[in-house]
Amino acid sequence: MTTTTEQSKVNARMKNPLFLLWIIGILAIAAVPFAMPSLQLLVSFAMAKGLGVLGVTVLLRAGQVSFGHALYFGISAYAGAFLMASMPGTDFVIVMIAGTLGAVLAGLLVGLFVVRYRGIFFGMLNLAFSMIFWSILEKFYHYTGGADGIRLPRPTVLGNTLDHVQFELVLFYTAMVLMVALGWFTTRWFASPIGQLFQTIKTNETRLEYLGVSPRRALLSGYLLSAALCGVGGVMMGMAQGVVTPEYVWWVRSAEMVFIAVLGGAGSVQGAFLGALIYEFVRTYASVYAGDIWQMILGGFLLIIILFAPGGLIAILNSLFNRGSGKGGTGK
């Protein structure tokens, strides 16, 4: 019985045009290094940034906006850089794990404090922590390299020393696999009992408390997931760029993550990556062709989205694909 139900779910999903579009999208991304190698690095950046945006998206599901989540993006990148500086030749996998663990540990320390607050206080406290870390990175020059940052030399990959091109290819496909795997995991987590308890913070903490659940603990569970996702994205970005600077945790980076999350579709897993991809393209090409006004173009783009498609790009896609079947799309 269960097997039949599961099978029918899989069949229904396979017939969903939007699901097929995602499959095609992933295959298209997989072809980028061979079909359009000039876009490879840009797409790598977009996927790494998308993982960070996914972290912000998790918190949006609980109705909380963090204006300081670049903190975890930066901490993981610096953790990887410090590790590489102290132990040259450390393997790629170890750097990834160390960076992510650094972000989770920082998420636990900061999270234990900030989960006591909601709304604007939650957002601003996160910002405050990120700016404190930014100051530390700037001022402790002898340890952090100050504004110049730290170089992140190319690690070995499973014991193999790769050249520049090979390593970028490994990074690209690792980012792609992580995007799919962590996107899938986050979607499942949202649908799970623990994810649902976390999301009720948005609507009714009183009832949550009267279900015998600590709202702070529920929020902390999502906060740690969001820090981990930002951490994975941050350490990927650090290795892709080869250098980490305090700019990684600068408030503009945090605002950028919120911007992309809203652009893609607040609360949407796919929207986080779609938003990151489009943002990186618009940012790159607008800055090339529109000089100093590229921020204005991005601002206008977001304004249009908020006014005419508050569900973000993902809601536009959903409504386009569900129009035929008469279903609405929330982007979630």
Binding site: F185, R188, W189, A191, S192, P193, I194, G195, Q196, L197, T200, K202, T203, N204, T206, R207, L208, E209, Y210, L211, G212, V213, S214
Partner: protein, 249 residues
């Protein structure tokens, strides 16, 4: 007399110059439906808030099954078997009625598997039965924000019952419901409470409801229990007629 489930000893709390609980001592016995009546501002809801840990008394104790639960937060008291339904239903408005119950049972059974679909948990059938018990089976897949107040009240109780409590505290279960529906709702509620074998305390202003569904009545006034007895004894008491029901009603 049956076992004492919850007991309060000399509860005192003041809000500025208003004494909301003035040395309240009360025993709630297992298996009874106790109605709390009294004029507005008498301290009825404050009593429920103290019993569930939402506010702390400046003096006194609350004991549940003999354990002092006075310093515990609401969630710890809930975990011991005291659930609550609210005057204004406290539900997850963006979720469906069934999802509200699934979330409740996930909390009850400590379901923490991050890869398990909440809709596929083994307790789903139990929750569908609970929705049926409170007469809301049709509303299972309806988002709470789209439901009528009466249905929300019933689902609020169902959410509390999903926790399998020993004691359920209900704050004005029929307020905000059309007069014609009050008895129907109480009929469903009392039936569900009996089936679930739950002791209840309910604050109520409708004396018809109190007369019909309460086993015992406690009369609150000026932050204390003035009288206690069977509905027949209490509703004909001259003080109750004067202070609560009103002369000539």
């Amino acid at each position: 007399m049956s076992d004492v489930l919850l007991e309060t000893r000399n509860l005192v709390i003041k809000f500025g110059g208003v004494t909301a609980a003035d040395n309240v001592s009360l025993k709630i016995h297992a298996g009874h439906n106790l109605a709390i009546i009294g004029p507005n501002g008498a301290g009825k809801t404050t009593f429920l808030n103290i019993c569930t840990g939402w506010i702390k008394p400046s003096q006194g104790q609350v004991l549940f099954e003999g354990e002092d639960i006075t310093p515990l937060p609401p969630r710890k008291i809930v975990q011991r078997g005291v659930a609550r339904a609210f005057q204004i239903p406290q539900l997850f408005t963006e979720h469906t009625a069934l999802e509200n119950l699934l979330i409740a049972v996930s909390a009850r059974d400590h379901l923490r598997n991050p890869l398990m679909d909440m809709h596929a948990i083994p307790e789903r059938d139990e929750m569908l039965h609970l929705l049926d018990m409170v007469g809301c089976a049709d509303a299972a897949d309806t988002v709470v924000v789209e439901l009528a107040e009466g249905q929300r009240k019933l689902i609020d109780v169902a959410v509390a019952l999903a926790l399998k409590p020993k004691l359920l505290l209900l704050d004005e279960p029929t307020s905000g419901v059309a007069s014609s529906e009050k008895h129907a709702i109480m009929e469903i509620l009392i039936g569900a409470l009996k089936e679930a074998d739950v002791t209840s305390v309910f604050v109520e202003h409708d004396m018809g409801i109190v007369d019909r569904y309460a086993d015992e009545v406690a009369v609150w006034n000026s932050g204390d229990v003035q009288l206690r007895g069977t509905p027949a004894e209490i509703l004909e008491h001259p003080d109750v007629i004067r202070d609560v029901i009103g002369e000539g009603v």
